[in-house]
Each structure stands twice: as structure tokens, then as C-alpha cells.
Symmetry: C2
Subunit: 448 residues, 2 copies
């Protein structure tokens, strides 16, 4: 009797929260006290008993509301449970289309916010499962894939005035030229990174100077500073950073959506003497025309955005409007790999470099795969391309990123690097995990 | 001893679902089987015992995921409970700013989707409470309010490149001229409505013809048809409708986001012979530039959108880009009255008429107040302005809309008309209400 084909038997969700606000890690002009968190999902299958892989995905949040994000993933459970694992892995796009096309759930976006990120987490978990079953890291599964299949996996809805499937196929076919050499180079050298670790707004000047110097010593050629709370502080911090790193290291600045358009222009011009390489999120991520106006006014400072851009339709317009110099995909904000394929193809079509957003919980682990696919099989270059790196919370993943000499080392383990360590899940599940239970106990003690 | 000032003692939420999919009410090209639902919130206060009012608000959804929307409202509970009722009602904008400015919750949007709509429901509940305590219907509370106070209530963040507080104040001051006469006229005549009841996609031609004829007999001068699933069907349905209503009644068509840009242009041109008055939601609500391209190509057919526009920043751009002829606010999609004030002011600044989206559950009840405020104290006219009307589910509200001779009668009861009947809540709460419990019982019977 042939074995029964494997099916998804459970969609398990976890509310994981890390108490990062206590150290001001991750503090910026809009987010003074984030508790880095993940709404984590595990797809279990009836091949698990035979040691078959599970699929892992997550949404990154910064604390309160992580439970709402978990509830949104839970709302997808009925549409995933019972599906054939073979069918899911052969065509993750079918699930993507079913979930984004569910008319009742679509009303809650459409294609944005909590519900869309939940879909992204589940879709990414399927890609994790597919890559594990293929025995490849995800970047390699994508880079090795047939261009026609990749086009089939890509969401072109609402994009065809800017990018057609035929154009995408052409870009992917061209991207295959020299892919073998680039793979070898990637495995040898890695993918360039930049670091945000020195620049959190809550850090004092001494800590900033020390960490900036260490970043240069560690081989980084770009660092990033948070700005936007107080101009005099920003001027001082930029001066400190520039004096430490010298003229040859790029300093990006990041306002985390703090400004209206005119204020953004004034503020960036006031920092121009320190040669910021890019200004990131100068205003609302929804404001395509605002970004275009800012870009025109602050050149040669580049404009970067993307970590909060809700979907491919807004990226399309940012490119159509000439609003961006640097496109920052995020692995867990949009509808998963299928939508990020569309965004990478848009960037390639418009010739805009992709410098992914990372940090948080596990965003480095995920997004490195997309950048490496982009290099090997689409853009074909790492020129002016860097993946953000933040040295936090990697110890909670079973296949953490390895950054050496300012480069992400290419992952070789099969999958999407999305698996959290069981000990971390047990400790930081909110509110019942061992850390939070003990914390509540301590607070009760203080309250007595 | 003076009485203790009243505080919010509870934020109660309810998952209310109506089984509308069984009659194909509400069916369109993107939403074939909606179960009209409400994530309903009641703010209770310790003045309740003395007969003091409660505040009511809700998010409209179409079924699955209504529980996620409820979870999002629940996530706001801690920030509302315990607040002074006097302070809330004197300055609803303070709560709006606190909730939209909560950095951890903001990450889940920002200002879009599930979390933003949850904020809108709670903010609207405060306005309901404020209007009840003032003894006025909300439209009148707003129309009577001091322009400086209204400016203070308005969210200008990310708008100042298009609308400054000073300009808004000027518009509101000018809007006061003749407000008394307009109030009298509104109370006598009501506000113009149009009806979507004839045009649901799931209705046959006979039902369409019958309902269209009835609409004209009932005094409506505009009807709306759903389009976008099949062009031949749409041509036939438009022909039927035009032949029934004659040349003098406006026929709007609504594609509910079905098309990419080029397809929208082709399809609308193919319907041009029936003189559609506007094409509504031709493509993604996120696609500002797409709407602008469509508008240029399909003139003189007007372009309308807004029911799914996530926030004021996207409305700003739709106006800046000249993408809209008709702006369709929705009372429950954005962050409540405070954000809709900004959107109404933007429309006034750009001279674009506001024709609110309604229907669903209770959207007519809410949005009539905003349109009437707009008429009395801002736009000053009802020319080319109509509020959508759908004759469904009004019986579940304690102060349902009254539409007579094609006009919404101005509400006179204090509040925002947002209170659902307790019997309806008991019957349609999902899954435990009497209707759904009996339904589950019946299904179990069939399954045996």
C-alpha cells in the first residue's frame, strides 16, 4: 500500500515577546520603547512523525497587539489545515492567491495591515517547508527555479500597467546569465551588510561613538543613525558619527516617518553637511507623492523607504513617481515570498537597488534569502546594495545569520532560517512563558 | 459631597454577524457571498446607573475575520477604561491621538487595516457619547461647534503640504455663513440619497428592472449597478437599467476593485454608451496614480473611490494627483470622526464633492451625520452630492435612518445613531447568539 500523501495537520501559533524596551535597543523617533515580538506560526504535517519538516513563519511586531496579529493568523487556520503538503510546496502561489483572494478576509485590508501580514507569515511558512523538503536554503531554491515557474508564483494583480508577466519572464531569464559564478562568489564572500546597532536614539554619544568605531573595525562600510526627535541632537550625533567613521564610510539616517513633507526637507538639508547617504522613511509610508517631493528637494541625499510599505501596489507607485533611490523590502510586512517576488521584479524593471530592511526578531534571518536570490538570479550585482544588520535576538533561532567582515554569510541549511529554538519559545511566550511568568511574579512582589 | 466624575468602566465588544450571503444581498464582482457583520463596541460608564448614556461604535466587515476585528478593539481596552467621560467628550481628539500614536500598536498599520478601523470604532463611540451628552445628533454637534475647536479635533499629520490648520480654519469659518438657513432646509427636506439596492451582481435582470423602476418611483435620481465580473453581462444589465430609468436618472457603476488599469479603461469605455455617471473603485484603492490614469482616459465618466481608502494620507494624494471626481468617505474605515474631519476639509480645499459610501451594517446610520455636517457647515451645498442608501439591516438599530422621497431625513435623536437593538445583539452574536446556535443545530441535524 503506498503511503498516504502528507497533509497539514495543525497550524500552531505563538505570541512571543522579548523585553527589549528595558535596554532601549531599537529606540527611534517614533518607537521609544519597543518590545520586539513575533506572532509565530508552525505548520505541522502528518509527515512530522517520520521526521518530516515543519514550516515556520512569523510576523514581527513591537509588543502590544502581538495578540491581535496571532488572532489574524488563527483566522487562516481553516483554509490551510488539511491541504496536501506536496501541492502546497509545488505551488505556494495557489495558497497565496486563495488567502489574498478570500473576499471576506480581504475586506479587512485589502492587502494591508494585520490581515495581510498574517497571510505573509503563513505563506512564508509554506516556502520554509518547501525549501526544507527540497533540501535547499530558500535563496537557492529560488535562484535554481525555472523562470516560468517563478513568474507563475508572482502576484501581478494591479501591477500590469508597470510590469507584465512577459517582462518579468525576460528579466528572470536574463538574470540566469552568470548565476553559477555569482553563486560561487556569494558562497565565498557573502552579501554586503550595513549595521544599525550604533545608532539607536536612546543611546548616548559615547555608546554611539564606541559602536560606530567597532562597526568600522568589523568591516562595515555603512552604518545608520536614527534621527527626527530633536534637530540639535541629530546634528551633534551625526557630527560624532562622521568624526569617528571618517569620510569613506556611508552614514544613512532614518526618521521612522516622523515628519511632514516640508519638515523633512528642512531637517535633511540641515544634516546635509554630514553627507548622509540616504534618508530613510522621512514621512508616512503611504505618501508616494510626498516621497517624490522630498526626493526632488534633498538630492543628492538619497530617499529610501519600504519597511512599512503595505504591498506591491504602493511600491509600484513609488517607482512610477520616481520617489525612491533605494527600495527596502521587508520579509514579513507584505504577503510573503510571492508578493516580494513582484516587488523585486518591479525594482529590477525600474533599475532601483534593493537594500532590505532587517533587524527586529528574525527579519535578518528571513530577508537575507531574498537579497541573495536577487543577486544571483535577478539584479546580478551587489553594487550599492546592502542588507540591514542588527545584532539582536539571533540566538533565538536554530539557524541564525552569520555576519563576517561586514557580509552576511550565505545560509546553507535547508529552509528559510525561520525556526525559533524551542527553549526560546518556552521562555518568551506571552504571558505564560517562564520569563513573563517570573516577571509578573516580581511585579506582584514589588506591588506588595 | 460633589458626585464623583463619571469614568469609562467597561469597553464591551460583540461579534455580530448577519447571514446575508443566503440572499446574495451585497454581492459584487469581488464579494460574491458577504455575511454583513459588525465588530461592535459599547463604552459603559459609571453614570450608566443614573441613566447616563453609553457610547456605541462599530467596524463593518463581511463575515470571516470579524473576530480578528473584535480582538483589535479589545487591544485598546486598557487605554480607554478609567478615562474621565467629561474629558473624553470635551476632547475626543486627545483619545484619537493617544490611540493612533501608540507606537507599539502603530506598528501593526501604521494607520490602516484592522488596527486602524478598531481605533475608528472606539473614537466614534466617544463621539456618540459626546453627542448624547450634548443632547444633539452628531451632525448638529459638529455643525454648531466652534471652528477653532474643530480644527483642534482634526488630524493634520502628513497633510500640511496640502492643507494647513490655518486653511482649515478659514474653510470652517466661511462654512458658517448661512448655516442657519441650511439647517432649516436640511430639517425640512433631508439630504439627497442614491440607491444601490437594485444593482447587486447576484440579482437577475427581472429583479434589477423591477427594483430600478421602484427606485425611480421612490424619488431617487441616481441608482448604482455592480459591474466587473463579465462584460457582456454588464452591457446587458446597463441596457436594462437605462431603458427602465430613462435618460434623466444617473446610473453609477461600481467595479469593487476588480480591474488593473488598462482593463478598467477598456471596460468603462465599453459601457460608455449607457452614460454611466461615475465608475467607482475601478482598481486597487491603494493605486493613486492608477486612478489618475483611469480618470484621464475615461472622461467624461467620473471616477469615484474611498470606501476602502485606508486613511487621510491616501485621500490627500488622490486629490493632489487629480485622480478623483467624487470622494467617498466611509464612517467606519478610517480613524473615526477626527480623521474624517480631515478628509472632509481636504475635499473642501480641493473642491471635490463628497458622496459617502454606505450600506453594510449601520454605515448609513453613521455617515449621514458626516454628510449633513458637511452640507450645513463646510461645503454649503448638496449639488452633485448624494449619500449611498441600501435598504438592509436598518431594523437592528434603535434610531434607523429614514429615507423619504430619495432623501435622508435629518436625525434628531441625540448621538451618532450607532446603537444596535439589544434583541439583535442577542440573536446575531456569533457563534453563541440564538440565530447562530439554532443554525448550528440545524446543520448538525443535516449532517446526521
Amino acid at each position: 500500500m503506498p503511503p498516504t500523501p502528507a497533509r497539514v495537520t495543525a497550524v500552531d501559533t505563538y505570541d512571543i515577546r522579548f523585553p527589549t524596551s528595558r535596554e532601549l535597543d531599537g529606540s527611534d523617533a517614533m518607537n521609544p520603547d519597543p518590545d520586539y515580538s513575533a506572532a509565530y506560526v508552525v505548520l505541522r504535517t502528518d509527515a512530522d512523525a517520520d521526521g518530516g519538516p515543519e514550516g515556520h513563519g512569523f510576523v514581527f511586531t513591537i509588543g502590544r497587539g502581538n495578540d491581535v496579529q496571532v488572532a489574524a493568523i488563527d483566522a487562516l487556520r481553516a483554509q490551510v489545515t488539511g491541504r496536501s503538503v506536496d501541492a502546497l510546496c509545488a505551488d505556494p502561489g495557489a495558497l497565496y492567491r486563495d488567502l489574498t483572494g478570500d473576499s471576506q478576509l480581504r475586506w479587512l485590508g485589502p492587502e494591508k495591515g494585520v490581515m495581510h501580514m498574517a497571510i505573509g507569515a503563513v505563506v512564508n511558512a509554506v516556502w520554509d517547508l518547501a525549501a526544507q523538503r527540497a533540501g535547499k536554503p530558500l535563496w537557492r531554491l529560488l535562484a535554481d527555479a525555472d523562470p516560468e515557474w517563478l513568474v507563475h508564483q508572482t502576484d501581478f494583480r494591479y501591477l500590469t500597467d508597470a510590469l507584465t508577466p512577459g517582462e518579468a519572464l525576460e528579466l528572470l531569464r536574463r538574470g540566469r546569465d552568470g548565476a553559477g559564478e555569482r553563486t560561487a562568489r556569494l558562497l565565498e564572500r557573502g552579501y554586503p551588510a550595513y549595521t544599525t546597532s550604533p545608532g539607536w536614539l536612546g543611546y548616548g554619544d559615547d555608546k554611539l561613538a564606541r559602536l560606530a568605531a567597532r562597526a568600522v573595525a568589523d568591516g562595515f562600510t555603512q552604518i545608520k543613525l536614527k534621527v527626527g526627535a530633536d534637530l540639535a541632537d541629530d546634528v551633534r550625533r551625526c557630527r560624532v558619527a562622521r568624526s569617528v567613521v571618517g569620510p569613506g564610510v556611508r552614514i544613512a539616517v532614518d526618521a521612522n516617518q516622523r515628519w511632514d513633507v516640508a519638515e523633512a526637507i528642512r531637517w535633511v538639508r540641515a544634516l546635509a553637511e554630514f553627507q548622509p547617504y540616504w534618508i530613510e522613511e522621512p514621512t508616512s509610508p503611504d505618501d508616494v507623492l510626498g516621497h517624490a517631493a522630498i526626493r526632488e528637494a534633498v538630492a543628492p541625499v538619497r530617499v529610501a523607504t519600504g519597511e512599512h510599505v503595505q504591498n506591491r501596489v504602493v511600491f509600484k507607485q513609488l517607482l512610477q513617481a520616481g520617489a525612491l533611490d533605494v527600495l527596502q523590502i521587508d520579509a514579513a510586512r507584505v504577503g510573503g515570498v510571492n508578493e516580494n517576488l513582484a516587488i523585486l521584479l518591479l525594482a529590477a524593471k525600474f533599475g532601483v537597488p534593493v537594500c532590505p530592511h532587517a533587524g527586529g526578531v528574525g527579519l535578518c534571518e528571513l530577508v537575507q534569502h531574498l537579497a541573495m536570490f536577487d543577486y544571483v538570479a535577478l539584479s546580478g550585482t551587489t553594487e550599492d546594495r546592502v542588507v540591514e544588520y542588527v545584532d539582536h535576538l539571533h540566538e533565538h533561532f536554530t539557524d541564525p545569520v552569520v555576519v563576517r567582515d561586514g557580509h552576511y554569510t550565505a545560509p546553507t541549511a535547508p529552509g528559510f532560517s525561520a525556526t525559533m529554538r524551542p527553549e526560546s519559545v518556552a521562555e518568551y511566550t506571552y504571558p505564560g512563558g517562564t520569563f513573563w511568568a517570573a516577571d509578573a511574579e516580581t511585579r506582584r512582589g514589588h506591588a506588595v
